[in-house]
Amino acid sequence: MLEVSALDCARGARSILQGISFQLAAGEVLAVLGTNGAGKSTLLASLTGELAPRSGSILLAGRALASWPAQERARRMAVLPQSSTLAFPFSVGEVVALGRLPHATGTRQDELIIGQAMAATDVTQLRQRSYLTLSGGERQRVHLARVLAQIWDAGEQGCLLLDEPTAALDLAHQQLILQQARNMARRSLAVVVVLHDLNLAARYADRLLLLHQGRAVALGSPWQVLSAERIAEVFGVAVRVEKHPLQDSPLIIV
């Protein structure tokens, strides 16, 4: 679904990412981890097409990312930002409906999808509320519904990118957002999520990509990537890695 090979990125003259390569299959969740400044945001910016790579290639569904017409790409790839600065009194339903902008599927189909996406993120009862009256967690759920509506019917052709979606959220919302990302992967979407919390990543991602100083230091399953030595080396924090008592994933104890 998404193929990144030998990706080099720079902002201005400063090189940020070197030699990043990975492939992401439909139905897979990949978490991108790393310290602040490791290049996570830059990687996401190049995956969304915001930032042109200096060299290397990014293929979306087998076709170079930059060669997709904007609207067709938007039907396959949606991005959930960290936070949004919407300052106008849209209703919640209207915000979610913006996700159908790149589509020409007709009002009835759009309404159906909007309803399903809103139900998925549990915002149906907020539909008529003004966006401006919502809490931070509610807003993020509304935006998640919007990006889900955008690629609801994309299936194996779809790719969902989430940029630190849980940064300012409470525990319940963190779980809800990532569970939704998981559910979308079950419906064959490819999901990339940038995360800070190693335990959330271990719990919800199939594979992890660990960035350090612009390079990929590890790519693999949570058990392969999250060793105590590597975490100490990359994050500079001594930890213990145990087995999660309720599921087969590593549990990092600081």
Partner: protein
Amino acid sequence: MVAAYRFKPLVVVLLLALLLLASLLSLALGPVAIPLDDTLRVLLQRMTAAELPADQVLIIEQIRMPRTLMGLLVGATLALTGAAMQGLFRNPLADPGLIGVSSGAALGAALVIVLGGTLLAQLPTAVLPYVTVLGAFLGGVATTWLVYRLGQSVQGTSVASMLLAGIAIAAISGAVIGLLSYLADDAMLRTLTFWNMGTLGGASYERVAVLALCCALVWWRLPRQASALNALLLGESEARHLGVDVERVKRELVLLTALGVGACVAVAGLIGFVGLVVPHLVRLLLGADHRRVLPASMLLGAGLLLLADVVARLVVSPAELPIGIITAVLGAPFFLALLLRAQRRGGV
């Protein structure tokens, strides 16, 4: 609980009724008041072949009709471009007058009038109004770009930078227009002073024709960007992720806004606050969706500007006030209230 913003046909009917009423009043009232039924008769005389006093026909057809048409075009266009600009800047406080676009347009037009006087002397007089509009348009484009660049930040656009840029541009424009007034002859001087005040008093069918041509383009193209504007409110990146060609949309919005504001300034001078107040009222009534805000702003803008013009004609009759004074008296306190509210919500 916050009300649901459903499409409200009643609101649209009321806006249409307001516009109709305002147009009739604008035709009927003034230093010489003409009863409403006579006004209607004059309007219908071609069909009914009614015998009417010649002076009433003259006043309505030659003076008040072009003035009413001009008020309608200017009001609708200022409100429409104001709404578009607030969307473009992702800020409900943007207004062509406050952020300097009108001043820039006035400067462009003034330069054409005074400095072009010699260069343009060979041109046929029928073309001159178009050249003035072109000057206003170029001035408007330059300032809109400048303010947009200055005001941009990660958080959308900063009102502080926008307003400061507006002050600076208004100051430059005021200084240059002041300077030009020393070079200007009497006729030019009258035109220059009238820009700083704003008035529909200079209406003529020729001016209405020039204005209508420009407005037609703006009215036709701008509302087509309504969905893109909705997406832009989320942020530029988010709009791009939704498949909107953000650079093209921005370019088109800036050009159309500058053309609309430029044409209005060239024929009617600086009329402030219409572009700020009208979209705000519309959003209170209908919500923020530009597919409703843009057309409804045009209706309300036209209606309110015509009413303001009627007031401008009546308060010191038989003399008249510049309409810019009326809109400022009503609009400036509104703006201050919005600023206070924004500040209370945590920063402008």
